[in-house]
């Protein structure tokens, strides 16, 4: 736990913006984004989001670890019609990380660069807004140049 960067909790990630779920990520001093994952101390099974109980052996002894990437884009889609709190169009995809975890999330544009198998890295992005207008942010995948 001590190796983790301080949690940003519900602090705004940029002026007026809020994270969709602050438990899922850490933002380092230099602004790099990492995912907060879990590793079972008993059997080694990994989880994202960090599990409270191991889905492989039922242990509750789960240690957090940070996943920095990069990962590989397994599949994606550009979404044109979605619930109104999202900025459309947006791209989403599944990214496979070394170690075996698969993570779903938004993908940063431009969409023309997207193709299956691309290497992606983690960044922070604005994805939509709450009904009250507060911008919503989360980790996003960005195609590595």
């Amino acid at each position: 736990m001590s190796e983790l960067a301080p949690p940003i909790a519900s602090a705004p990630v940029s002026e007026g913006a809020a994270l969709i779920d602050e438990r899922l990520l850490r933002i380092g001093q230099d602004g790099d984004v990492r995912l907060v994952c879990g590793r079972c101390a008993s059997c080694g099974a990994e989880s994202f989001p960090q599990a409270a109980v191991c889905a492989s052996c039922l242990s509750q002894d789960i240690e957090p670890f940070e996943l920095a990437g990069p990962g590989t884009l397994y599949a994606y889609s550009i979404v044109h019609q979605a619930p109104r709190h999202w900025d459309v169009p947006y791209a989403v995809g599944y990214v496979d990380f070394p170690g075996g975890l698969r993570v779903f999330g938004h993908i940063a544009g431009p969409f023309e660069k997207l193709s299956i198998g691309k290497t992606v890295e983690l960044k922070l992005g604005k994805l939509g807004a709450r009904p009250d207008g507060t911008p919503l942010s989360s980790y996003v995948f960005a195609v590595k140049e």
Partner: protein, 380 residues
């Protein structure tokens, strides 16, 4: 286990009925099934009602209109396989000897949400990050196209075939033929899907009456249809790698259902499968063993799964054309197959059909292929 027969069926045309309550949508289907079965309503041992988003006590809200109450009414939720899972519960109740006659219904009113994509569980972490059902199936399609070279033109043909069938079905929500070009040029939803690649949301209800074979004979039931297999299973959770191009859950369920019925894929004459989005139909051809992996489009283009073929898939128009009021779909599929096996399907009849299959999957939870899958085999 006792042999279970379907002795009566009812189905409302699917569509958008925002002015009706869930109960008002549901009762005509149950009434039709009970009258067709020629049973005394007092002989109904239990009612199993599937609904995905209908809310509390959906079955009671339907049955009170008919005054058929006082017996156990059990409501079953398994997303899009809600009423097929209810059918499994009804089958178990009759097969086990617990009840001689039960009613199974599916009912849904999606217009209460005012349109748009199906509302998923907001606490699911993928949903919180922007997952919607069209995107999930769209990713399957993108990956399938990447691995097998399927083109968007080919994928669009699934919708063309579905609407060719649905145009003949008076119960279908969309009774309009479309061309490949119309499918491709409709408004984008989630690439590669345009609107015509996606099933419409709507309202509807379906019902069946089940009885054990001895009771069916005693009642003198005309054209009873036998339930040869009744199967429900769940997805296998993982937060790691999962192949999006292989419908593992359906393939596993199909294997069980075939074993239970003592048949194989080559014995199926007609099937109603869960074509919520175009790619699903091709993937399910493969999962059911109708063709080899990666060859779903070749099977479609051969015409074998179209009316006139030897393994007709979704003669009703499927979810793409008949519509998909999610909790009603499973029993609606069963009603369709019963009509097909009795020779009562009308313009979209599959000539001489003797063995039919239904299949509904329910998804939308992170870490699963789908959450639930229910498969039934019917014979005459």
């Amino acid at each position: 286990m006792r042999e279970v027969n379907v002795i009566g069926v009812g189905l409302t045309p699917f569509g958008k009925f925002p002015e009706k309550t869930l109960g008002e949508i549901g009762w005509p289907a149950v009434r039709q099934a009970v009258i067709e079965a020629e049973i005394d309503p007092k002989s109904i041992g239990a009612v199993y009602c599937g609904t995905g988003l209908g809310g509390m006590l959906a079955g009671q809200r339907v049955m009170k209109h008919l005054g058929i109450t006082g017996m156990p009414i059990v409501n079953v939720e398994n997303a899009c396989s809600s009423s097929s899972s209810a059918l499994r519960q009804g089958w178990m109740a009759v097969a086990s000897g617990c009840h001689d006659i039960v009613v199974v219904l599916g009912v849904e009113k999606l217009t209460k949400f005012g349109g748009g994509t199906l509302p998923l569980e907001a606490e699911d972490w993928e949903v919180m990050q922007g997952m919607i059902m069209p995107a999930l199936y769209a990713m399957r399609a993108q990956r399938y196209m990447h691995e097998y070279g399927l083109t968007i033109e080919q994928l669009s043909d699934v919708s063309v075939k579905a609407h060719n069938h649905g145009a003949l079905n008076p119960h279908a929500q969309i009774r309009k033929r479309v061309t490949r070009e119309e499918v491709m040029n409709s408004r984008p939803v989630a690439d590669p899907f345009t609107l015509w690649h996606c099933c419409p949301t709507g309202d509807g209800a379906a019902a069946v009456v089940l009885a054990d074979a001895a009771t069916a004979r005693r009642l003198g039931s005309r054209k009873p249809v036998r339930v040869a297999a009744s199967e429900v299973t769940s997805g296998i959770y993982t937060n790691g790698f999962r192949e999006l191009t292989w419908a593992e859950l359906t393939a596993r369920g199909a294997k069980h259902a075939y074993e239970m019925a003592g048949i194989g894929p080559e014995d199926i004459d007609v099937a109603e499968i869960h074509d919520a989005f175009t790619i699903a139909e091709l993937m399910y051809y493969e999962a059911f063993g109708f063709c080899e992996r990666g060859t779903g489009y070749q099977l479609l283009s051969s015409g074998r799964t179209s009316l006139g073929g030897d393994i007709v898939v979704n003669p009703s128009g499927g979810l793409l054309s008949r519509g998909h009021p999610i909790g009603a779909t499973g029993v609606a599929q069963a009603v369709e197959i019963v009509w097909q096996l009795r020779g009562d399907a009308g313009e979209h009849q599959v000539e001489g059909a003797k063995v039919g299959l239904t299949h509904a999957t329910g998804g939308g939870v992170a870490g699963y292929d789908h959450g639930a899958c229910s498969i039934h085999v019917f014979t005459r």
